[in-house]
């Protein structure tokens, strides 16, 4: 085996220029593909991070009936055990609870349906940074009995900070809910729908309003990033029992997952085309290598080398081209990705403005996800293994007496 590998290695350098050109094609393929994948994954990661941090969180624990029928009657009591359980998971960084339901919000003469969200102000702010959306007034103070309302809702109701908001609705199990609350601040989110209908209250205040003592709609759980999600989900799913259920961001935002998958598929097609072109380049080189060494192959089999061993040498030669190309590609891409990972590219102009409006950071992020690299290794290995079928086939079919005359 050792001598076969040595032989394959030396054979590779018989025509240095040709080998280097072929290796260069793999190098550029790996470099481009790695950069592209890193950029894609970095963007997805940033986008997902932005979106989940904006509202849903990475994980939620809910009553098992809540997701399909989001009424206040399907809320749950967040026991101390549940908090302990969530906090005990290594990847979990923050937890909070919310109570959500609907009510009519009125000013002096106007009324509109609104989404009422009861939050723990401190914990909520650690997760969603709600304070940064306050454009007028102040965020909740401890024990605050006021509300924060969306900018469009405030504009529609013609109310300002310091005015009173009257709310009427149906509470827990149909109890009528009514109350009046001072407006502490106006919120402006990137999402216009939220601006039109959101009313935030302190959690206990909200529970009082809906007569839903100690009840919450969901427990929001944060992890550092989407890569910590899988182990955290695994542990939580194993421990959280009925009547509770655990949901991850991709279950709560299927449209986001679909968009990421769709975009990823587009990138995969481009990379596939790139690798197919490179594969044909390697194939051409391998064909030449086999054609110009037919006699030598004949000699080797004539003097007693089994064809399968000869095929092994040819296989190693083909794989070496891919391997050198991948290593060279990584040598080029790792420093670049490291640089861009630590120094994301700041976007400017309309693209940046649009991203800011959407609540996204105006940066092009890169990812250091291991799959960015090992996927290239797998792809190039599969590609070279497919190309290596040709020399294997030629070795197995070799007719010694004809090869000796080549």
């Amino acid at each position: 085996m050792k001598s076969n590998i040595l032989l394959a290695w030396r054979n590779l350098w018989r025509n240095k220029r040709r080998t280097l050109i072929t290796v260069a094609s793999v190098f550029f393929g790996v470099l481009l593909s790695t950069l592209m994948t890193s950029m894609q994954e970095g963007s997805y990661s940033s986008m997902i991070d932005n979106i989940v941090k904006f509202y849903s969180g990475y994980i939620q624990i809910q009553h098992e009936a809540y997701w399909d029928n989001k009424t206040i009657n399907n809320t749950m009591t967040p026991t101390g055990e549940l908090f302990e359980l969530a906090s005990s998971v290594r990847e979990v960084t923050h937890t909070t609870t919310r109570l959500e339901s609907f009510a009519l919000a009125s000013s002096e003469t106007l009324t509109r349906g609104s989404l009422v969200i009861g939050i723990d102000p401190d914990k909520e702010n650690k997760i969603t940074e709600l304070t940064k959306w306050v454009i007028d007034g102040t965020y909740f103070r401890p024990g605050d009995d006021g509300v924060l309302i969306g900018s469009e809702l405030a504009r529609y109701l013609k109310i300002e900070v310091g005015d009173t908001l009257v709310m009427i609705g149906a509470g827990y199990h149909g109890v009528s809910a009514a109350g009046k609350y001072p407006v502490r601040g106006i919120l402006k989110f990137p999402n216009p729908e939220l601006n039109k209908q959101t009313v935030y209250m302190e959690l206990s205040n909200c529970q009082n309003f809906f007569s839903a003592e100690n009840l919450v709609s969901s427990m929001i759980i944060m992890v550092d990033d989407q890569y910590d999600l899988k182990p955290a989900m695994k542990e939580l799913k194993a421990q959280v029992k009925s009547p509770y259920t655990v949901m991850s961001w991709d279950e709560m935002h299927p449209e986001l997952l679909q968009m990421v998958e769709g975009d990823r598929a587009g990138g995969t097609v481009i990379k596939a085309i790139l690798y197919i072109l490179i594969g044909f380049g390697i194939f051409g080189t391998v064909m030449m290598m086999v054609a110009e060494r037919t006699r030598e192959m004949g000699v080797m089999v004539a003097i007693g080398m089994q064809k399968i061993k000869l095929a092994g040498i040819l296989f190693f030669e083909t794989v070496f081209i891919g391997l050198i190309g991948v290593l060279a590609g990584f040598a080029g891409s790792i420093p670049l990705i490291t640089w861009f990972y630590t120094n994301p590219v700041k976007l400017s102009g309309n693209v940046a403005d649009t991203m800011i409006e959407m609540g996204l950071d105006p940066y092009m992020y890169f990812s250091w996800l291991p799959s960015v690299f090992y996927n290239q290794v797998i792809t190039v290995f599969v590609m070279t293994a497919i190309v290596a079928i040709y020399p294997l086939f030629m070795a197995v079919r070799l007719k010694v007496h004809l090869a000796l005359r080549a």
Binding site: V301, A302, G304
Partner: protein, 227 residues
């Protein structure tokens, strides 16, 4: 003691219009320690005959029996293995592996046989010294003259300790001095170590050294003379 028996050997090529009998009913026996030249004009069937004898090309009919083994009764893998352990080859165009040094070319065949590193090293050294290349162990073929390359090829053929060596026009590409050297080496090995050589040739100098001359024409043996 006879080591090769050939019975009624035919190799027929079916051309589009005409059938070519490259080897046409050959019966012959080779004894251990013989130094035999197969001679004849171009197209007489010498190379084809050696290919059939060496298990490189399949005969249309007939038997090649080496040490009581019917060579063409062996399956593909076993046939290659049989060649590895029983037959040494020397080709007209030397056919050394260009990326291996002289030493590695000789060692290569012993490695295929699974011999130990120590044995390979010692045998390679002694064989290359025997063919006068003890000082060129680490030279690659492109750094050796044609005569030197052919001597490495002889060392390689001997390395596997074969029962006999087949050489297809081994001196055809050599100058007279290299031919003389090579023939002396082959003759010495034959005489002193009783190694059987069968070679095809056009070269009168080679024929003069042979102790048995088999003449072929149109695929048949025309004469078989012990000198």
């Amino acid at each position: 003691m006879s080591i090769i028996k050939i019975n009624n050997l035919f190799k027929i090529y079916d051309g589009s219009q005409i059938e070519v009998k490259a080897v046409n009913g050959v019966d012959i026996t080779f004894e251990e320690g013989e130094f035999t030249a197969i001679v004849g004009p171009s197209g007489s069937g010498k190379t084809t005959f050696l290919n059939l004898l060496g298990g490189l090309d399949r005969p249309t009919s007939g038997d090649v029996i080496v040490d009581n083994v019917n060579v063409w009764g062996l399956s593909g893998r076993k046939l290659i293995d049989f060649r590895l352990h029983n037959i040494g080859f020397v080709f007209q165009a030397y056919n050394l592996i260009p990326v291996l040094t002289a030493k590695e070319n000789v060692e290569f065949i012993m490695e295929l046989q699974g011999r130990s590193k120590q044995e390979r090293f010692e045998r390679t050294k002694s064989l290359l010294e025997a063919v006068g290349l003890g000082d060129r162990l680490d030279s690659r073929p492109n750094k050796l003259s044609g005569g030197q390359q052919q001597r490495v090829a002889v060392a390689r053929a001997l390395a596997s300790k074969p029962k006999f060596i087949l050489a297809d026009e081994p001196t055809a590409n050599l100058d007279s001095r290299s031919t003389e050297t090579l023939l002396d080496i082959m003759e010495t090995l034959n005489r002193e170590e009783n190694i059987t050589f069968i070679f095809s040739t056009h070269d009168a100098r080679v024929m003069n050294k042979a102790r048995r001359i088999v003449t072929m024409e149109d695929g048949k043996i025309l004469s078989d003379v012990h000198v």
